[in-house]
Point group: none
């Protein structure tokens, strides 16, 4: 018997990712989780708290992975490649979480939103620092490191919207493809 708390989380992931936070009602959530709508409130605070918990967990994992990847590679080229691989793998393996993170930030309000935005900013900073370092070292040929960071991140995040783990592209190949595209995009010197 899967724990009810886990079922609530799963239901929220499925539904928020597919229909968006505001497109999902508490009763749909409850039905999907196999609970009454009143029982839902034993496993969450408000609906917004549930969203925030999902976003925080996902961003914290993303951030931890990115910081680990950054720490593991002193060389900017290797570092960026490691960031790309981690990001792509995360988005391929947990597309629901990442779609929610990327798309439902506007549904958060007040303090909670500020916290999640801060996490996202920290995550982007890790990327920016790596790219800036490579650019400063002359390892990349990019017109604007800031624009390149945005382009790279968007490009990699898109994976969550189309990649099918049961499809023809294995996850390792996907990571290789994105790593290669990222290197080219950045104009990595041979």
């Amino acid at each position: 018997m899967a724990g009810a708390a886990e079922r609530v989380r799963e239901a929220a992931l499925d539904l928020f990712a597919d229909r968006g936070f505001h497109g999902v009602g508490i009763r749909q959530l409850a039905e999907r989780a196999g609970l009454s709508s009143a029982s839902l409130y034993h496993y969450m605070g408000t609906k917004e708290d549930l969203l925030a918990a999902i976003m925080r967990a996902c961003l914290e994992r993303l951030l931890a992975d990115a910081e680990a990847a950054a720490a593991a590679h002193a060389d900017p080229v290797a570092r960026v490649e490691a960031l790309v691989r981690a990001h792509v793998v995360s988005h391929a393996e947990r597309p629901r979480e990442t779609r929610v993170v990327d798309g439902e930030l506007a549904a958060l309000t007040g303090e909670t939103r500020a916290e999640v935005v801060a996490l996202r900013d920290r995550y982007e900073r890790v990327w920016q620092d790596a790219i800036d370092a490579g650019a400063a070292a002359g390892a990349f040929a990019v017109g604007s490191p800031a624009v390149a960071r945005r382009a790279l991140l968007e490009m990699c995040s898109g994976v969550a919207r189309w990649y099918d783990p049961a499809g023809p592209i294995p996850l390792t190949e996907l990571a290789d493809l994105y790593a290669a595209m990222a290197r080219q995009l950045l104009g990595v010197r041979a």
Copy 2:
């Protein structure tokens, strides 16, 4: 004095882009447009019709621009570059429309949704054909043309989420930056 119909459209663009279709109420829409909620219905069918009209108009323009760009360039490299430039400029100049197109497809239902999806698919086909042609001609160094198309499109669409026309990067420079990144990403042979 702007026409009321135009004010309704503007209000919808502002609000749908910022809070998402389901995050916007009919009364907010009306207030923003300077009308009563009842009067809104002189200028639209249902709320969903309003969304569909916005999406269709944007996609049709995007498609027309892309087909024009494709028709203007026989060379795959030039063609892809033209597509990138048109896409980036559109997303920079009309970020609200494009964010709605990219983010609210799930809010559409039934026949309308099918129509909009068909438009989007036609648009993506134009890109795919151009990329496939370049790959077939050996002009690009890409591991997978299909993945490259997705990466490119996501990368360029992201512009609508951050570019500020009043910021430090002029639009022409933005287009140049993305064109360059696209060429590198695709591994265009020198």
Copy 3:
């Protein structure tokens, strides 16, 4: 070109008879009459006024016919038979009006309603007087003249709900059938 006022009246008859006063919107009325909803108000007061006018006209005609029938026959048996025939013919020829009269009284309010109720009461009084006269004269075998009046009236009004002038029963035959049933119901002495 049929007069617009007439078209409004026809539309109201069709729709009120089919869907009931509260089941019909002003826009449906307008569409059926080939006018805009605003233009409707050149030909009527309020929606309720329109209903009242229909009911009054129908009841006044019914009443005039009944009074004429009563005046034409001193003999109670002949008088009741004449009332039955007039009522049945009216309901067969103008089923929409009579269905509205029979079914939408509750939609009227205030003074108007009182007036229409008064008309209806006058109409029923003509019937009651005739039946009472026959009963007093020993011409009828009825347990209760008051109950008999109600039974007779309901029986005859039903015609408006099913009779089809294009069907197998000619109007004259219909009137004969009801006259015969009425005589039998009242136990007219041979």
Copy 4:
């Protein structure tokens, strides 16, 4: 303390019978039932479902009574008389239900309406069969059995619109009166 579900049903009966389905708002229903309009929806599906439930229940009871009456009497005269008595008693005892059944059929839509119409048709068939049998056996003197059935049914249904159980006519006497009128109307041979 009456159950809330029962109070909703009672409120609907009172209001639908008096003002018609379309003449009653959900808030009036709620107020009459002593609930908020939102709470109403714990006890019903849609407003139309509520109407349909009332109509079905009433028609099913009517049908069961009629079939029992028909089964209990082989003789057509006795059978019709039993049908009349059952119908009159039902309409006298439950005038709200029967008025709703007789007057609000047009408010139903789609599948539900078809089901209720089918029930009504079955009910009328029981009457028609009995009358036809009597006519075939020469027990009745009627010009048209089909017209007679309509006349009889309308005559008896009218009871729901005027009979007052607290008035001067006891229910048993009412049934006797209608049975006698029905026999006479049908021209039952002595």
